[in-house]
Amino acid sequence: MKQAAYIVNTGIITAIGNDTAACLDALLHSRTGVGKAEYLKTHWSEELPVAEVKASNEALAAIAGVDAKWPRTAILSAIAVKEAMQPVADKLQGLKVGFFSATTVGGMDLTENVYKEFKEDSSKVDFDNIKNHECGTITELVANHFGISDFVTTISTACSSSANSIMMAAQMIGNGMLDVAIAGGADSLSRFTLNGFNTLMILDKQPCQPFDNNRRGLNLGEGAGYLLLMSEKAMQQCGVTADCKVSGYANANDAYHQTASSPDGTGNKLAMGNALKVANLQPADISYINLHGTGTANNDSSEGKAIEVLFEGKVPVASSTKAYTGHTLGAAAGVEAVFSVLSIRHGLVYPNLRWETQMEDVSFKPATELQQGIAINNVLSNSFGFGGNCSSLVFSKC
């Protein structure tokens, strides 16, 4: 029998807030983080809105107490990890602690500023801007800062990355390899990703409208989101409690196209269905679905159709929170895991912002009004990405 991975605390920073309380407040008051890029210096700042954390690297580094010369992804990660670890930071003696992070951009925000000069004459470039380029280095910087060394890893499966880091952490707590895990992911905005998504013509020039018939694409966002996961034994030792746990997880591949989802959401269905199986739940047990819901024509159609088939038309209340935070890529599943926990904890369903028109090929309508004080027992959270990578997580009240 596997041990449960209990969710003891959360840590988050996104365009709608620098911690869990601030993000919750924004969700309760329908405040979006999507707007004009101020800190990301890009040709597209007037045309492509983004969900940016409105602070300089220096200001953010001061919050986390880390070096401002770190890549922005590492700084965002450190802020969220610090918050997540806070209740147990000085109580982990003798426990095996893991750090499971996820990122897609790594240190690209610094690399892209010096790459041209580096290629011309590497001696003219401050190597500090290159040396932290690797995704794994971001995780290493943060793990070292917080003294975590028992198991430290980074997963990079595009937009589903941090769902997989939470899955692996739950598995390793489940089979007793670790007592405590901080699991999630982080990604900063970069010109590289903004331009990459722009070439695919899937960026919305206005604030995005997930699951709307007239949706035009996604807005990129940045941030970090982590869960503090613990075994029962570790919770007892630290004198902490939990109100929910990671109950299901699954990873599948759509095997259809490098950057597009199959029309009927083959991988999406497999990920959701298998996550329910691992959780030992029926579709009817799900109280709320936190949709991947990027706002692209392709994703929302495939995801919506897969949900309709899996739930046999009886779709639970569902919404996408990407209209608040933008699509934070490798951080998205971590960010949305935090929102899922808040949904269970406070009995909340978040309105799918800016929704206007029913989709023609999907019959269910996302939640458009805030629901409070309702019983949320099980939340399904979806994350689908490039490379066909599809992952779903189930969080349950305990």
Binding site: G106, K119, F127, E134, L200, Y256, F386
Partner: protein
């Protein structure tokens, strides 16, 4: 959990495992980098698709196809890949154009192929594999974590065949950064410099090695991964002590050890502590004179062993560091990349 390897595919600076003469001759070079000697992909990849693939994707798909062929399967149930740097060449193509063209008039192809999970995604796409699919990017533990993930996956989903690989490509840009970082050498190296030298940095490498791993003991001979011990440690004396403690603590019986000795002075000091210590009476073998130094080279070394075992061959004599082993039943693979250390406990079954 114990994993059995039933198929191996390698594309490396020393050739590919589909080639009859693979590793038979001692290598000869004088270079700062050992780039992959790529196979004729005709048997593995349709030409239309091949044209669009970057080197990372080609060597990844090529090695994975060789490996599936060796294992006698068409598609795996799940895929787990480790790559420290991902698809660097396409990343640099898109980055270079983005800067040169001031973020305008860009095309998506290089961006699409630049994501770290491109290789695992492409393998799934070509094989029609809808199963679990993960990509690890933890520097010198990327491949090790892909293997640990395989243990976790097969524990939950027994009796399945998992495709597991380690892959990294070298670019001009990454080589320059690795030279500045002191990992790779500015000067040229010959094989003897890797085996016996004591220089600042090592010859650079790249490569792709894939395996079919399963939790069920196969009917034919196979190598079993009994355990993977991975840790980070910046101090080499402490690292050597940790490894020694692990070996002695588990009372491991060792016929031979494969060492990631690279000719780098700092690294040499680490291996020397082990060679004259816990491995003083053990046959010692090297592999980095074949594949060069890169973050996922432990996959190459593991592949050397599993490939030789499957073909009933002994390890090549040019890999012997002290004396040839009389038996190759219990073998350790000890490697480090920077401060990322690992030890694979292997047994021929």
């Amino acid at each position: 959990m114990e994993l059995y390897i039933t198929g191996t595919g390698i594309v490396s600076g020393a050739g590919n495992s589909g080639d009859e003469s693979f590793l038979k001759e001692a290598p000869s070079y004088n270079t700062d980098k050992l780039l992959c000697i790529e196979p004729d992909y005709k048997a593995y990849i349709p030409p239309m698709q091949l044209r669009r693939m970057s080197k990372a994707v080609r060597i990844g798909i090529g090695a994975s196809k060789m490996c599936m062929e060796a294992a006698g399967i068409e598609k795996p149930d799940a895929i787990s890949v480790g790559t420290a740097m991902g698809c660097l060449a396409d990343t640099e193509v898109f980055l270079g154009k983005m800067i040169a063209q001031d973020e305008q008039m860009l095309t998506p192809t290089a961006f699409i192929q630049s994501t770290h999970n491109t290789v695992s995604g492409q393998i799934a796409l070509l094989a029609g594999c809808y199963g679990h699919n993960l990509t690890y990017v933890q520097r010198g533990h990327s491949f090790e974590h892909a293997v640990i993930n395989t243990q976790l996956y097969l524990a939950d989903n027994p009796h399945q065949q998992m495709l597991v690989g380690g892959i990294d490509e070298l670019t001009d840009g990454s080589l320059e950064a690795l030279k500045i970082g002191g990992i790779n050498r500015r000067e040229n190296s010959a094989p003897a410099d890797v085996l016996n030298g004591n220089t600042h940095g090592a010859v650079a490498g790249e490569g792709s090695a894939f395996f079919i791993m399963t939790d069920e003991k196969p009917a034919i001979t196979a190598i079993c991964i009994k355990d993977v011990y991975a840790f980070t440690e910046k101090d080499i004396v402490t690292a050597a002590e940790k490894l020694t403690g692990y070996i002695n603590g588990n009372s491991l019986n060792v016929d031979a050890v494969m060492l990631g000795q690279s000719g780098d002075e700092k690294s040499n000091a680490f291996y020397q502590l082990l060679r004259s210590g816990v491995f003083a009476n053990t046959s010692q073998y090297a592999f980095k004179h074949l594949c060069g130094e890169y973050a996922t080279s432990s996959a190459f070394a593991l592949g050397m062993l599993t490939n030789a075992n499957a073909k009933g061959e002994v390890l090549p004599s040019h890999c012997v560091l002290n004396n040839e082993a009389s038996s190759l039943k219990n073998v350790l693979l000890v490697n480090h990349y920077m401060h990322y250390h690992s030890c694979f406990v292997l047994q021929v079954v």
